[in-house]
């Protein structure tokens, strides 16, 4: 699979309710070790209201400055969440479906971002 194809795909819950779009894919470097680096394993998908402009990474890396820009971009991405690989039921050409009872996790990349960004949650 090519990752670019997955980005921007709409995400639905088990009942067909729309949750947003795939804004990013999170990997963790703990796969099979090669001589140089371990293989990045898919940890989960970041689902957000917009796929565009999430590249700025503001909602995840805890950047707070310049304040106005940070605020605007955070606001655009309010309700972003991370869903783990284990909670993904199906990845298709035009949609991604999650398993019933999936968990929304914070998209923050580290503790610092976590405390600073105070992400908001959409209604379940």
């Amino acid at each position: 699979m090519i990752l670019g194809d997955l980005l921007g795909t709409p995400v639905f819950d088990a009942d067909g309710g729309r949750l947003g779009r795939v804004a990013d894919a999170r990997f963790v470097l703990d796969g099979t070790p090669h001589q140089l680096m371990a293989e990045p394993r898919l940890l989960g998908l970041v689902v957000g209201p917009h796929s565009a402009s999430s590249f700025m990474g503001y909602e995840r890396n805890g950047l707070t400055r310049p304040r106005t820009i940070a605020r605007i971009l955070r606001w655009r991405h309010r309700g972003s969440f991370l869903v783990l690989w284990e909670d993904i039921a199906l990845i298709g050409e035009r949609s991604v479906r999650l398993r019933p009872g999936f968990t929304r996790y914070s998209t923050a990349l580290d503790d610092r971002a976590q405390t600073r960004s105070a992400p908001e949650q959409g209604s379940d």
Binding site: I2, G4, G8, T9, S51
Partner: protein, 161 residues
């Protein structure tokens, strides 16, 4: 996922919208520049541009006579400004006046602009004739001064309408 046409439809609408806005702006620009003002306005622009050109040429000639400007710079300046007058003249020539008054204005403008061009011809001839030749730079300046007066009169007349 092979052979699927669209990968990320999400952000697609935005560039298209931007492109459309851009097209609109370009079209508007084209339309606005295509239908400029009437004869009087065009003539007045032409007069303004030509006056600027003639004034520049006179400064250059005077500086040349005072030994402040090199021959190369003087002749380049004259060439540049003559081109400016020619541009004005062809824009007046392209007008299609509707009323007899406008036709009259166009005719007068062409006469005056021809006088400017003739002034430039004298000035350039003086420059290539060199020091002490005929016509002299002073002759050229005189011819351009005459053209400048005519431009001013025409400008006042068109401007007062």
């Amino acid at each position: 996922m092979r052979n699927t046409p669209v990968s990320a439809p999400a952000a697609k609408s935005r560039p298209r919208l931007a492109a459309r806005l851009w097209m609109l702006a370009v079209t508007a620009l084209a339309v606005l520049t295509a239908c400029g003002g009437g004869t009087a306005e065009s003539v007045s622009t032409a007069v303004k541009d030509s006056s600027s050109a003639v004034a520049t040429a006179r400064i250059a000639l005077r500086q040349d006579m005072d030994g402040k400007l090199t021959r190369a710079a003087t002749s380049t300046t004259l060439d540049d400004e003559l081109k400016e007058v020619q541009t004005s003249r062809s824009s007046v020539l392209k007008l299609s006046p509707a009323t007899p008054e406008d036709r009259d204005t166009q005719k007068q403008a062409l006469d005056v602009l021809d006088q400017c061009a003739a002034g430039f011809a004298t000035a350039r001839a003086a420059l290539s004739a060199g020091d002490g030749g005929t016509p002299s730079l002073a002759d050229g300046d005189k011819a351009l001064a005459g053209a400048q007066d005519a431009l001013k009169q025409l400008g006042d007349k068109v401007g007062s309408k």
